[in-house]
C-alpha cells in the first residue's frame, strides 16, 4: 500500500510539473485558433469552441514569415559553421598542447564567459559602424568565427579526456600537429561537436539583442525581431500574435525533437567535474 501510494505520489508530482511546463503552450495554441469574440470572452475558456485559422492568415499576411525563417536559418547556420571551425581549434590548444601562457589563456576564456554584453555593446557597435557593417549580418556572424568562450571551455573539458597515447603515436609517426588534430582528434570529438552545433544553433535562433541592434532593414529581420516588430505594429492583437508565436515556435520545436539527445545528453558533459 505504502509503495503504491509513493508510486502514485511520484507520478502525480511529475505529471503536475509537466503540466505546468506545457500549460503556456496549450494557451498559446488555443488562443491562436480562436476567433476574436472568443479571445475576449469572460470567463476565459481554454480551448476554442470554434476552431478557425483566421489568425494564422492575418499573421501570415502581416509579415513575411518565410523570409524571416530563411534569414534566421542563414544566420544560425553560418554561426554554427563559425563555431565548429574555431572552437575546437582553440580548445585543442588548451587541452592537448603544452605551451607557456596556456593557463593564463584558460583564465581569460573563463573570464570572458562572465562578461556582460552591455560592457562591449557601445564600442562594438561603433566599431561595426566605422567598418560600415551595421545593417548587415556580419556583426551577428563574425564573432562566432573567433570562438565562443563557453564552447571552447566545454570542448576543452571533453578533449582533455582523450588519451594522449593516441596523439603521441601519431606525432611519432611524423604527422604534423594539424594533421593529428584533423584526423584523430576531431573525429573522436564528434559527439561534443554535435552538441556545440546544436547549442549554437538554438542560441543564435533565439538571440534578440544582437539582431535588434544591428539589423535595420525589415527585410533582413530574424524571427525574434520579426515577432517583436509584429507586436510593435499590431500591439495587443492577441489572436494573430499568438498565431505568429505558434509559427515561430514550430521550427525550434522540430529541431528539438530531432536533435533531442544532443541537447539533453550534451548538457551532461558540461557540468563542472
Amino acid at each position: 500500500m505504502d509503495r503504491k501510494a509513493r508510486f502514485a505520489g511520484r507520478h502525480a508530482l511529475v505529471w503536475a510539473i509537466a503540466l505546468g511546463m506545457l500549460f503556456p503552450f496549450i494557451v498559446m495554441i488555443g488562443t491562436a485558433l480562436k476567433p476574436p469574440t472568443e479571445v475576449f470572452s469572460l470567463p476565459p475558456r481554454l480551448l476554442p469552441e470554434q476552431w478557425e485559422f483566421g489568425n494564422f492568415e492575418a499573421a501570415l499576411s502581416a509579415m513575411p514569415f518565410w523570409r524571416y525563417l530563411g534569414n534566421t536559418l542563414l544566420v544560425s547556420g553560418l554561426c554554427v559553421v563559425g563555431s565548429l571551425v574555431s572552437c575546437p581549434l582553440v580548445a585543442y590548444s588548451l587541452a592537448k598542447l603544452h605551451w607557456p601562457g596556456r593557463g593564463l589563456m584558460l583564465a581569460l576564456v573563463l573570464g570572458s564567459m562572465m562578461l556582460p554584453p552591455q560592457v562591449t555593446l557601445v564600442p562594438l557597435y561603433l566599431l561595426w559602424n566605422k567598418l560600415g557593417l551595421v545593417g548587415t549580418y556580419f556583426p551577428l556572424i563574425v564573432p562566432s568565427f573567433f570562438g565562443i568562450p563557453f564552447f571552447i571551455f566545454m570542448l576543452r573539458q571533453f578533449l582533455v579526456g582523450i588519451p594522449d597515447e593516441l596523439l603521441d603515436a601519431a606525432r611519432l609517426d611524423g604527422a604534423s600537429e594539424f594533421r593529428v588534430y584533423w584526423r584523430i582528434v576531431l573525429p573522436l570529438a564528434r559527439p561534443a561537436l554535435a552538441t556545440v552545433a546544436v547549442f549554437q544553433f538554438v542560441w543564435t535562433w533565439t538571440d534578440f539583442l544582437n539582431p535588434l541592434i544591428y539589423l535595420s532593414d525589415s527585410s533582413q529581420y530574424t524571427l525574434s525581431v520579426g515577432l517583436y516588430a509584429f507586436f510593435s505594429e499590431h500591439g495587443v492583437d492577441w489572436g494573430p500574435l499568438m498565431a505568429a508565436s505558434v509559427m515561430f515556435t514550430l521550427p525550434a520545436l522540430i529541431i528539438f525533437l530531432l536533435g533531442q539527445r544532443y541537447f539533453v545528453e550534451g548538457i551532461a558533459t558540461k557540468g563542472l567535474k
Binding site: N129, V134, G135, T136, S216, Q220, A229, S232, G235, V236
Partner: protein, 429 residues
C-alpha cells in the same frame, strides 16, 4: 603541409563566398540599374501603410528616374538607430513636429533650405504654426505633411442609455456626464468607464491646454508646473482614479484591445468619451462602421469661457536624414508628397488634416464622416501646440514618467509636475 595550405585555400574561398553572400543579404540596395532607389521608412502601419503604398506606387509609375520603396517601421527606437550608421538605411522618413528641434540640434537631419529655394516651394501655403516647428536656428529641417487636432468624441448609444442629450460644453458638465456613464459591479469592478485616455501623453497635455495651461513659454522653456496644467490633470485624477479606485481603473484598462483594431475600447462600448484625433473618422469607418458616435469641441471650465475652442495641434512631418544615400531623389519624392493633389490623397486616405492653408476648405474632405469639426478646430485662436526644442526628447520622456505616476496616483499632479520642472532646469537654460 599541403593539406594545411589546401585547407587554408578552402577557408579563404569560403570566406569569399560568405562575404559576397552577406554583402548581398545585408541591406539591399537593389532595384533597376537605371532607377535610383529611395527608401521611405515610415511609422505608419496596417491600413494607413497600405494607403501610403498606393501613393508610392503612383509616384513610381509617374516617372522613370526614381523608384521609391516603402517600409513600414512603427518603431521609434529603430528609426533613431538607423540614422546613426555611416550609411543610412533609409532616405526619407516621418516624425512628429515637436521632435524636430531635438534631432536638428544633434545634426541628425539634413537642412532643406537649398532644396526649397532651388525648386521655389511655396512655404507660405503651409500653416504657420506648423512651419515654425520645422525650424531650428533659422534653417528648415523638415516639412509638414499633415496636421492633427484633438476633439472630444462620444458614444451616442451609451449617451442615450444614460439619458444624456448631447456632448458637454463645460468641464463641469463633462464631469457630471462621466459619473453617469461609468458603470460598476457590486464589488467595484468597472464594466464601463465614462472617460479613458486614448493615449496618455497626448490626452494629458491636451487637458492641460484645456484648463488654460501651457507646457512651454514663448522662448520654448518648459513650464510643466503651470497652474492650468495642474488643474487639467486634477480633473482626471479626481474624476477617474480618485472616484473609482486606481487598481480598479488599472484592471479595467489592462483588458483593452488593440487601439487600431475592432477591439478599440471606444468601439466596443467600454469607454463613453475620449479625446482623440481626426484619423478616427477613417478608423471608425473601417473598424467599427456600425458605431453611433459624435464629435464635439473640447469642453472649457465654466469660469473661463475664453478657453472655448482649445485644441492641441500636432504635426506629421517628413525629413531626410543626414546619412541618406540619395538625398536629392528623396527630395523629389518629398516634393511630390507635399504637392496639393498628393497631399489631399494622403490626408484623405489616412483621415488627417492637410498642412496647406489652401486645402482647408477643399470639398473633397466632405466625404469623411464628421470631419468638418476637426477642420474648424484648426482655425480656432486657441489651437495650441508643444514647442520644438533641442531638449524635447528629454522633456517628453520626463513628462511621460510624471504622467504615469500621476495617473496611478503615486504622486499628486502638483508634485509630479513640479518634479518635472526641477528636472527640466538641468537641461533647459
Amino acid at each position: 603541409m599541403r593539406r594545411e595550405s589546401f585547407r587554408r585555400a578552402t577557408a579563404a574561398a569560403m570566406a569569399g563566398v560568405l562575404a559576397t553572400a552577406l554583402g548581398a543579404c545585408g541591406g539591399s540596395d537593389g532595384g533597376d540599374d537605371d532607377k535610383v532607389e529611395v527608401v521611405f521608412s515610415y511609422l505608419w502601419a496596417g491600413a494607413e501603410a497600405e494607403a501610403l503604398e498606393e501613393i508610392i506606387a503612383d509616384f513610381n509609375a509617374s516617372q522613370d528616374e526614381i523608384e521609391v520603396r516603402g517600409v513600414s517601421n512603427p518603431d521609434f527606437q529603430k528609426q533613431l538607430t538607423s540614422m546613426s550608421g555611416a550609411q543610412g538605411s533609409f532616405d526619407i522618413s516621418d516624425h512628429f513636429g515637436n521632435g524636430v528641434g531635438a534631432w536638428a540640434s544633434k545634426g541628425i537631419l539634413a537642412p532643406l533650405d537649398d532644396f526649397i529655394e532651388a525648386d521655389g516651394l511655396d512655404t507660405d501655403d503651409f500653416v504657420p504654426a506648423a512651419m515654425s516647428q520645422m525650424m531650428y536656428e533659422g534653417q528648415t529641417y523638415s516639412m509638414p505633411i499633415a496636421l492633427h487636432a484633438q476633439m472630444l468624441m462620444y458614444n451616442k448609444k451609451l449617451y442615450a442609455e444614460a439619458g444624456i442629450d448631447g456632448p458637454p460644453e463645460t468641464t463641469e458638465e463633462w464631469a457630471e456626464q462621466i459619473a453617469k456613464l461609468t458603470k460598476r459591479d457590486a464589488d467595484g469592478t468597472i464594466t464601463q468607464l465614462g472617460y479613458a485616455n486614448a493615449e496618455i501623453n497626448t490626452s494629458f497635455t491636451t487637458l492641460g491646454f484645456m484648463f488654460g495651461g501651457a507646457w512651454d513659454d514663448q522662448s520654448g522653456r518648459p513650464t510643466p508646473a503651470d497652474p492650468g496644467n495642474v488643474a487639467g490633470l486634477e480633473f482626471y485624477t479626481e474624476n477617474i482614479p480618485g472616484t473609482y479606485g486606481v487598481a480598479e481603473v488599472r484592471d479595467f484598462t489592462s483588458g483593452f484591445g488593440e487601439y487600431a483594431s475592432a477591439q478599440n475600447p471606444f468601439y466596443v462600448d467600454k469607454v463613453a468619451t475620449i479625446i482623440d484625433g481626426e484619423w478616427q473618422s477613417v478608423f471608425i469607418d473601417q473598424y467599427a462602421p456600425n458605431l453611433d458616435w459624435g464629435v464635439a469641441p473640447l469642453p472649457y471650465p465654466a469660469a473661463q469661457p475664453e478657453l472655448a475652442g482649445t485644441t492641441q495641434v500636432t504635426t506629421s512631418t517628413l525629413f531626410i536624414p543626414r546619412n541618406a544615400k540619395h538625398p536629392e531623389e528623396a527630395w523629389e519624392f518629398m516634393k511630390y508628397l507635399l504637392s496639393e493633389d498628393a497631399m489631399v490623397r494622403f490626408t484623405l486616405a489616412l483621415g488627417n488634416l492637410p498642412a496647406r492653408i489652401s486645402l482647408l476648405d477643399d470639398p473633397r474632405y466632405d466625404t469623411l464622416p464628421q470631419f468638418s469639426t476637426w477642420l474648424d478646430a484648426l482655425r480656432s485662436p486657441n489651437a495650441q501646440s508643444l514647442a520644438s526644442t533641442p531638449w524635447s526628447a528629454e522633456y517628453t520622456s520626463d513628462l511621460g514618467q510624471a504622467f504615469d505616476d500621476i495617473a496611478q496616483q503615486r504622486t499628486s499632479p502638483a508634485e509630479g509636475l513640479a518634479d518635472v520642472a526641477d528636472k527640466a532646469s538641468s537641461y533647459a537654460p
